[in-house]
């Protein structure tokens, strides 16, 4: 009996503590993180949270910081690289201590930005200078500035595709499939690599939303009960292409044991012909080609195989957005770092990415797109918050791999079911969630 009493007591204590512990963090002041008028105005030690563990470990970030200190001598920049960035930062955001500068984790709902981050200025002011600023605009104030953006498309090995006899970027999904079949017939290369096991490469397929209809507002249009997978819808076109590639046996035999790191070498050596990825990957694949002792210029980039009025379109999507912690006591210094890092560090050029600064030129990695007259569209993010709410409520995950993994499984017969039924089910879930999530 005595033991039971003790346990009950402990549980009671625990319950009391629990209720007491649920106060939540302090309220944010809403004070704007202004750019310093004079470099001397910025001072203090700031901590920058980043997901680029590689750049922190090899000292690249410290070199940026040293360069930054030439202009802002009174600011000391410290980096904290997190391997599981999303997971760790999300949990830390329940406290006030999540660095001074951080990348906005995807888990934070857009409408909650003012509770966590300091505003950086008005939307009207920043939109002229920076691309992608509407992604973090809440109540006409901007809360984050993108590190850089990426265009989406297919990386391919030019030598392999030439050998297969395809020189023009395919204009329709049918032509694309025919090209992959030619690769299978005429070369030893695997036509397409899904990266199924590492899963995240499958999420990039969603970034083609907009490229199909050449509509920058395509993502916004998903907000509501719109059956995104209906015939003729963008997601129908995009996901059908993936389905047909796998169903046609044009992808790897055993997708469940793929390996992203190895896939870079495979495409560089011409063992794999094509992968669907963002333009950020081009630099990495070219590095892999240098390592594999093949020609880095063989790595090409082509747009999604759809033409609207004779032209290809490519949607530009933003990468992580840098924000200032609303609880930071060195907001000016933090803002100085963001400004400098975005505009002057040369980071986005080095990564071969689309610069956030409107005035900066397109990177050399997108030369294929520029040469082929691909129209760049900047993705509108006006309704991203609503779309994400529906997406989460439906448990589909447009930017998560699960539903596409199931798509691939259906296509290769590992799971029972037809594509049409699957699309119908997705539509149903989406529309139902749109009905409840709005309330």
């Amino acid at each position: 009996m005595g033991k039971k009493k003790t346990l009950t007591g402990a549980l009671l204590v625990a319950a009391t503590l629990t209720v007491a512990g649920c106060g939540g963090g302090g309220a944010a002041s809403g004070e704007t993180a202004k750019s310093p008028a004079d470099p001397a105005d910025a001072s203090g030690t700031i901590k920058v949270l980043t997901h680029r563990t590689d750049l922190v470990q090899n000292g690249t970030m410290d070199k940026y910081a040293a360069e930054f200190n030439k202009t802002y001598p009174k600011v000391k920049v410290e980096f904290e690289a997190l391997t599981d960035y999303e997971g760790e930062v999300k949990i830390r955001m329940n406290t006030d201590d999540y660095g001074d500068v951080l990348m906005i984790p995807a888990a934070v709902a857009k409408n909650d930005y003012p509770k966590f981050f300091a505003p950086l200025g008005s939307a009207a002011e920043l939109a002229d200078t920076y691309r992608f600023s509407d992604k973090t605009t809440v109540g006409k104030k901007v809360y984050g500035i993108a590190q850089f953006g990426t265009a989406n498309g297919f990386v391919y090995n030019k030598a392999v595709w030439r050998k297969a006899g395809v020189s023009e970027p395919p204009a329709t999904p049918r032509e694309f499939l025919a090209a992959l079949k030619a690769v299978r017939a005429k070369t030893d290369a695997l036509p397409y690599y899904t990266n199924f096991k590492d899963a995240w490469p499958l999420t990039a397929w969603s970034n083609n939303i907009g490229s199909v209809t050449c509509d920058a507002e395509a993502t916004d249009k998903l907000a509501g009960a719109v059956s995104p997978w209906k015939r003729g819808g963008e997601l129908h076109t995009i996901d059908s292409l993936l389905h047909d590639i796998v169903k046609g046996g044009l992808s790897e035999k055993d997708p469940s044991t793929t390996n992203w790191e190895a896939s870079k070498g495979l495409i560089a050596e011409g063992k794999v012909a094509t992968m669907q990825l963002g333009s950020w990957a081009i630099t990495q694949l070219r590095d892999a080609a240098v390592k594999a002792d093949t020609d880095p210029d063989d790595i090409g980039f082509m747009p999604f195989p759809v033409r609207k009025d004779g032209k290809h379109c490519a949607v530009l999507a933003s990468d992580y957005q840098q924000a200032v912690n609303a609880h930071s006591s060195h907001k000016t210094a933090a803002r100085a770092w963001i400004d400098w890092f975005t505009e002057k560090s040369g980071y986005s050029a080095k990564e071969g990415a689309v610069p956030t600064l409107r005035s900066a030129p397109m990177p050399s990695t997108l030369k294929d797109f520029v040469d082929n007259d691909v129209t760049f569209l900047e993705r509108s993010e006006a309704k991203t918050g609503e779309v994400n709410t529906i997406d989460n409520a439906a448990e589909i995950g447009l930017n998560k791999p699960d539903y596409r993994q199931k798509l691939v499984d259906l296509a290769r017969g590992a799971q029972q079911g037809s594509l049409d039924d699957y699309f119908a089910d997705l539509d149903k879930r989406w529309n139902q969630a749109a009905g409840t999530a709005g309330s």
Partner: protein, 315 residues
């Protein structure tokens, strides 16, 4: 640093007190009942901080619609629980547990067999014990990675099979049935060692005279197992079964690392983790975790009812 220099002057003041009989349980100023609590304070504090408070929090979250980050959360009553019990797809993943349950039966049988064999005098006995226990010592994440290569197309398993002319080119993790069987196989490989050690410990506590007497009476090894070993390690077997069932319901790391729950290998815990961290439904995920906890408690309770804890009396 300054504090240490200040201590000496204070210390003498305590000397007269020290002359008083030392503070033992009987003569000190501490109430008699408090002493055990002093010893318990640290473990209890740890237990409460790291077990009961999180569990309490989890139960609290399960009644809200919290997304895991937002400072706001709304009470939604039993809505989350209602969802769990009204959405069949959330429960369907429990079928995957049957693969692991079947695997645990195999695992217990293997462990019991080897524990019995190795409890007798045998050449290289300790070496075999080491080999059997070794997999349990390896980190689960490492095991996941190792077996990923093992099951790869043209990986270790395929090459070994091809030596025997059975190179199937089968994608082991490629379809739900073989993927779940493969994953359950990994789990057997990993946890047999633990069961084995538990059984071996129990078997070795059986007095040697019993075997001697049995041998004099002409009992075979099989009869010795049937009438001496099995009854005397019954509590340990029953414990293993409880662990096996609760473990099968709560499988997580091996499938999460190896397949991420793809191709029909999602278990209840993986699904919960995905609800919480992919779809930001911390409230619903907490409710799922509470339900799993209750199911495991219930099963354990039923099992204790069916197989009561009886005292083993051999002599």
């Amino acid at each position: 640093m300054t504090e240490t220099t200040e201590t000496p002057p204070v210390a003498p003041a305590k000397v007269p007190r020290a002359a008083v009989p030392p503070r033992t349980g009987r003569g000190g100023r501490l109430p008699r009942g408090l002493t055990p609590w002093l010893f318990l304070a640290v473990p209890l504090a740890l237990l409460i901080t790291f077990t009961y408070v999180p569990v309490g929090n989890m139960i609290f979250y399960s009644f809200t619609d919290w997304d895991g980050v937002s400072p706001d959360r709304r009470f939604t009553g039993v809505d989350n629980y209602e969802q769990i019990f009204t959405r069949p797809e959330l429960f369907r993943v429990f079928f995957v547990s049957f693969y692991y349950l079947a695997a645990s039966a195999v695992q217990i049988a293997i462990a019991l067999y080897f524990a019995t064999v190795l409890s007798f005098d045998l050449r290289f006995r300790n070496l075999f014990k080491g080999i059997l226990f070794f997999p349990y010592l390896i980190n689960g994440v490492a095991i996941g990675f190792v077996f990923l290569y093992f099951f790869q197309d043209g990986g270790t398993l395929d090459s070994v099979l091809s030596w025997f002319g059975a190179g199937s080119g089968h994608a082991w993790l490629g379809d739900p049935a073989s993927a779940n069987t493969s994953l359950a196989g990994v789990s057997v490989w990993r946890f047999t060692g633990l069961n084995f050690v538990l059984f071996l410990g129990a078997i070795q506590s059986i007095p040697a005279e019993l075997y001697e007497a049995a041998q004099l009476d002409g009992a075979t090894r099989r009869q010795q197992f049937r009438h001496i070993i099995a009854p005397s390690i019954r509590p340990v077997i029953s414990l293993s079964v409880i662990l096996a069932i609760s473990g099968s319901l709560a499988v997580f790391e091996i499938p999460y690392i190896m397949t991420g729950g793809a191709t029909g290998t999602t278990t209840f815990v993986i699904q919960t983790v995905k609800l919480a961290f992919q779809f930001n439904k911390t409230g619903l995920a907490s409710a799922a975790a509470v339900v799993l906890l209750l199911i495991i408690l219930l099963i354990t309770w039923i099992q204790r009812r069916l197989v009561p804890d009886e005292k083993v009396d051999l002599v």
